[in-house]
Amino acid sequence: MATLAVDNRFNEFGTMSFTSVTRVNDFIGYLQQGRIMGSRCKKCGISFFPPRADCCHSLDSDMEWFEVKGTGKLLSFSTLRFGPTGFTQGLPYTIAVLDYGDYKIFGRIESSISEAELHIGMEMKTCPHRLTGGHVDYVFQKT
């Protein structure tokens, strides 16, 4: 994983990023290529999302990337009518968690999907998403 002193790619994650430097900055590189990646401990085999540079089970730092594939089950969601500073332009928007079994993913529902179309337990997929200004994140879409 990248360890360049000036690798601040994480600045480009989401509508507004609060983190610049992280040892999992390659996540952003993959995302810009259209791939959503988690990390897996080579020793334990445990899959982590969000990805980590270090395994909290074995305390090893020898990790490999894996691609998030398939669908996850919608665990819960909420549509915000009030957003924090920096996010009010995009209102309303819906945050949610998908359960992929080995791991879960927190993110936003794709903006064209109405709340009425959502129900807990439905299968959704996680898709790369480009924002203005070169920022990237991911959204949950219907299968």
């Binding site: 609060f18 983190t19 969000p50 969601f77 009030f82 920096g86 949610a96 927190f106 807990i120």
Partner: protein
Amino acid sequence: MGKVGIIGVGQSRFVRAYPGSIREMVFESFKEAIGDAKIAGKDIDATVVCSAPEYDRQRSPAGVLVEYLGLNPQPTFNVETLCSSGTTGIRAAYSLVKSGLHDIVAVLGFQKTSEITAADSQERMGRGADIQWESPFGTTMPAYFAMFARGHMEKYGTTMEDMTRVRIKASTYGVLNEKAMIRKVLTINDFNAPASRLGAIHSSPLRVGDCCKNADGSSCIILANEEKSKAMSEKPVWILGLGSASASVNMAGRETFYSFHSAKEAAKKAYKMAGVQPGDIDVAEVHDGFTIAEIMAYEDLGFARPGDGPGLIASKETYKEGKIPVNVDGGILSKGHPIAATGGSQVRAIVLQLRGESGDFQVKDPALGLVHNVGGAGLYTNVIILGRE
């Protein structure tokens, strides 16, 4: 090792915008607690200051506060666990006393949220989430709790009307509490009337009326060892059980969305330490920052079985005359939420109940009380069990 007692409690009136500085605001609750304990500042061996630091421009407020209150050169430090900072301070103070390091410790909790806008406040609370993986999506505390509300509705069939009942109960007692910020009796009409402000969706399914409001305020709780408690206080209240736990900050690390695992863990530890059961509790303050949070608290604390929280409030068993009165001082929903002052206010409410000094909202002769204080969306929970004996 002896017991640890609470010998003095104080609270400022919680207000939308306190017309003074943090030192002046903290002075109000400190003076009340010192007067309540009938001690002098020089009797205090150490202080613990509770604050969520993003709300004020003063760094390291502990230093400023102890100078203003005349408590130098005694030691002090700041503690923080978001909205549960106040009870974290009490836990820290308990251990400072119990360990023998100090005889008498004051816990000062405060927040002056009025100097920033509501959106900035949500942004700061959002950065109490995982700033790397969640805040970039525009998260807020109401939206996190809303996910638990939706999870509870899905799992147990809980309705918006069940949540409305929590707010109505809070208003019933808030109107009686002179230190509360919101003092208006609410009815179901306040939610259901057309164009109702409280009924408007905030973060679905939660409505504006399901969410507490930030406030400015301070609280002060004075703890002492057993010897000093008995010598100095006519009615010391004893800390019988303390439980604390954490959960993953990232929602992707949570197993379920209808209960706070940290609350169940903290409760289990507190009950074990006190050697009591949920059914033994006579009066409780739970963290009702959101209506759903009180319903989950009933279940996480064992006052109701999982899914039976809505039934407990529907049958009014958490009213003052019920089998387990909860938040009969109006709770956070009525008092307002000055983040790190809230835990101290909850403890003060239970101490006054156990002393029989709660006036209009006094529960009949309680012997055991409980405080449940949550930081973040179940990220941290503290449970404290207090008793007359």
